[in-house]
Symmetry: C2
Subunit: 216 residues, 2 copies
Amino acid sequence: MKIGVLGTGSVGNALASGFVMAGHEVRMGARDAGNEKAKTWAAGSGRGGSSGSFADAAAFGEIVFNATAGTGSVEAVRAAGRDNLRGKILVDLSNPLDFSRGMPPTLFTTPPGDSLAERIQNEAPDAKVVKTLNTINASVMLDPGRAGGDSDLFIAGNDAAAKERIIAFLKEFGWKRVLDLGGLTAARGMEAYVLFWLFLFVAQKTPDFNIRVVKP
Amino acid sequence: MKIGVLGTGSVGNALASGFVMAGHEVRMGARDAGNEKAKTWAAGSGRGGSSGSFADAAAFGEIVFNATAGTGSVEAVRAAGRDNLRGKILVDLSNPLDFSRGMPPTLFTTPPGDSLAERIQNEAPDAKVVKTLNTINASVMLDPGRAGGDSDLFIAGNDAAAKERIIAFLKEFGWKRVLDLGGLTAARGMEAYVLFWLFLFVAQKTPDFNIRVVKP
């Protein structure tokens, strides 16, 4: 499958490399088509990888992953282009973290208390935005075993078929438990969770962990 | 031990009743000493229970639990009285949930992005505020088995000895795993988690659940 990855940071690199290793064709997109990090990744990725602008990556992908930093995500999706995303699944991993006042960060979505995923859906109204993978470290995203035993991934979105397709896609990478939290509004909870994750991270002394929902 | 419980809602009732059943003496405090809910609870609680004002409960308890609704917690602690709380452990279970714009709620602590626990510590500077128990439903607080298998409770606070004492206290109620997330700043994460909990609750269709941290 052809996959577009928006973002050249640790999350974008982990996803793009993991997808290529799984046999997919990946175009990594950056603000500028000549972005050095994206070109370096593509050069090292073998036949399956290429690089370009956000719009290039969005046009290339049958599915597009937003792996940009939260502060730039809405702008990145705007640059990707409404038409390039039309009818496609746009998987959003971004978190609305504001580090401008130091650590710990705050959520720049409160007020009003919405989510970055919803803002991205507004920016790409013809795409099917699916929120997932934002609650774990990049190292665990395509390698769930790295977090230890079976743990839970969460998913939210307004299009049931799109969520089902992404759940099936993630299963190929070892995710056995993907809990559907409902419509895209649930991204508000998933994004707020990341503030909690940051303190767990400090306490665990490793980013390679996750949580599992326990019930009787 | 003598325990003060601030709050007459479901959380206050669950804690106060559980503490009496475990052999402790409990005074439930409300804004008004004649609060009917507190009097009704005390009347039904047998010898171990009594009721009074927030100040009465704070003066009575060797340890005090804040189980008031988040929107009234700072005011409740102020009414409890700085002198009544001096040198005592004040366990804070409150969550800064703002339901004024409907569901889902937002956090009224963002901006500036602090936590209710820190505000309460500011209001009772001579108390040792310990944040815990706010990440689970009242039904699970003193009955962890109700959430299924072993799950995790979280704790934060600036006084290490106070946290150790509360961890030991909670162990008597069956909590085997209480993860120390650090100083009271970590309450920011624990309180933000509750937005995530609310969506888990909808998806799980029961409030009797919890999470467990998984790592290799």
